[in-house]
């Protein structure tokens, strides 16, 4: 046991950071993930067939898949998806832009940044859903309340990551910038943001994930349209099969978003440098 533990650790540490190897690993991972999903699906299918749980409560994967396929042909699904996509897109744009601004501000004004830090780091303790009545009064009953709250969700990781990234810039870069007489704008755009790039990108990725989570969660609990709302609606009206079709759609959506983000991040962070 001792030996094996060490060996494994050594392999981990010894892995060379090589791009070609990575692609190879990426392929392995992709295949492995696909295999795992299929296996899990089969297990669920088997459990369903054995009657471990009622088909009415949790339908078998085959049923869900068939239902998902049927959904893709309905206008209602695309309408809901469009609404959710719009909300998510807007909250990504607003949330991440604001988060970036906030991050730069906190970096430029360290006192302000320090004052905000404890609140930012524990912000996830706030169930934002509870601000819904306030939103009704402020912006009315429409997509904007979802967009606003999801934007706030997206903003926090973006602001935090940008601040951490900017504060972690090697001091020599800023010394260099000063010594060559770079102006504040050049320092920000040519030095600070590129240097904090990986952190900003990670913040962006989290921001995107959180705006999806925020938008769907808001829809699920309060809103009147969108994928989250449809799931809730079908839940309330006991359309189990269709509901699971929609849940599956949300899983697919978040999967697609997560994967494409990783792809984008990889291209941005390594592609440009080679």
């Amino acid at each position: 046991m001792t030996l094996r533990l060490t060996e494994r650790a050594e392999t981990v540490a010894r892995q060379p950071v090589s791009r070609r190897r990575w692609l190879g690993k990426g392929a392995t991972s992709a295949v492995a993930t696909a295999v795992l999903i299929v296996v899990l699906g089969l297990i669920f299918q088997a459990c369903s067939a054995l009657g471990l749980w009622s088909e009415a409560d949790v339908p078998a994967p085959s049923t869900v898949l068939a239902e998902f396929g049927r959904l893709l042909g309905t206008g209602e699904f695309w309408g809901d998806l469009g609404r959710t996509a719009l909300e998510v897109l807007l909250s990504i744009v607003f949330g991440c832009t604001l988060g970036l601004f906030a991050g730069v501000l906190f970096w430029k004004l360290p006192r302000v940044g320090r004052a905000f830090e404890p609140y930012l780091v524990s912000f996830y303790a706030v169930p934002l859903v509870l601000f819904y009545p306030v939103m009704i009064v402020l912006v009315g009953i429409n997509a904007s309340s979802v967009v606003i709250l999801a934007s706030v969700m997206a903003m926090i990781p973006m602001a935090l990551n940008t601040t951490v990234g900017l504060n972690g810039i090697p001091p020599v870069y800023l010394k260099l910038a000063r010594s060559v007489g770079a102006g504040p704008r050049r320092i920000l755009f040519s030095i600070a943001l590129p240097a904090a790039g990986p952190f900003v990108l990670a913040g962006l990725r989290m921001g995107v994930v959180y705006s999806l989570i925020g938008a769907i969660a808001m829809e699920f609990t309060t809103a009147q349209a969108g994928l989250g709302y449809r799931i809730r609606y079908l839940y309330e009206t006991f359309e189990s099969e269709q509901m699971f079709g929609y849940i599956f759609a949300v899983l697919v959506l978040s999967c697609v978003i997560t994967l494409s983000l990783q792809g984008v991040e990889r291209v941005l962070s390594t592609g440009g440098r080679r």
Binding site: P170, V172, R178, G181, R186
Partner: protein
């Protein structure tokens, strides 16, 4: 007489720390002649780098002033180039773009940026690596990029803050010779901070020995060695004599600095 070179008059720098004021540089009044190569050595923490920062305009002196070519230094200036100890190449820019960075900040035209960058890259011996990214280069090559960036602006004064400290012995000997060669070609005024005594003697015309806090220039030693410096010169009698003479001053200072630091920690 027309003022020339670097003129330091009564330069002092004090820092306020929680443990009281630290006199990093104390009343330094020295002159670096135009076109000369001066090295500053001293125990670690003695304020060599602070002195360099004052000359570069990155650090304001608490009192006193520095003038370059008769002009008082008030802040960073294109006529002063700095090479830092740390790796200051920007990893998201190619070698050429790194070299062009300083010129971009100083409003050099695009076409000229290109030709001067190529020239500087060639000068530091990186021709062929223009489009490489720093992450693919060795530490020594990256410092060459930083050097090229500094030279491309064509400053009157080049300040080097332990530029080879992070490199291995062979690389630093080799790069040191390169710096000396480039200096011989461009004739710029160079102030070179190092903690390596041999390096200082091998490269420069003058070696300043600095004291541990308060940082004063204890001694200015002229290096009377032939202009053509072969690394083999380190085994010569003259070199050894110089080395011993400076070391005797430095050793006492280092010991004093070491004891003070230990005492502060205890």
């Amino acid at each position: 007489m027309k003022p020339s070179g670097i003129e330091m008059s009564e330069v002092s720098v004090r820092f306020d720390t929680p443990d009281g004021a630290v006199h990093a540089v104390e009343s330094v009044t020295e002159h670096v002649p135009d076109g000369s190569f001066v090295s500053v050595v001293g125990p670690s923490g003695c304020g060599k780098s602070t002195l360099l920062a004052v000359i570069s305009g990155l650090q304001r002196p608490s009192s006193g002033a520095v003038a370059i070519g008769g002009k008082t230094v008030t802040g960073p200036d294109p006529s002063i180039g700095v090479v830092f100890q740390e790796d200051s190449t920007l990893p998201w820019r190619t070698v050429e773009d790194n070299v062009r960075f300083a010129m971009q900040c100083n409003g050099v035209g695009k076409g000229e940026q290109r030709s001067r960058a190529r020239e500087a890259i060639e000068l530091v011996g990186l021709a062929g690596f223009e489009n490489a990214y720093p992450t693919t280069l060795s530490g020594g090559m990256r410092q060459r990029v930083a050097l090229a960036r500094t030279l491309a602006v064509e400053p009157e004064v080049v300040l080097m803050d332990e530029p080879f400290a992070a490199l291995d012995q062979q690389t630093r000997i080799f790069l040191g010779a390169e710096v000396r060669r480039i200096w011989e070609r461009t004739g710029q005024t160079v102030v070179f901070v190092t903690h390596d005594l041999s390096e200082a003697i091998l490269l420069s015309q003058q070696v300043w020995v600095m004291s541990y806090r308060p940082g004063r220039i204890l001694e200015v030693v002229g290096v009377d060695l032939p202009a053509q410096r072969d690394p083999a010169i380190v085994s010569s009698h003259e070199f050894n004599e110089l080395h011993n003479r400076i070391w005797s001053v430095l050793q006492a200072e280092s010991m004093r600095g070491f004891q003070q630091q230990e005492a502060a920690r205890a």
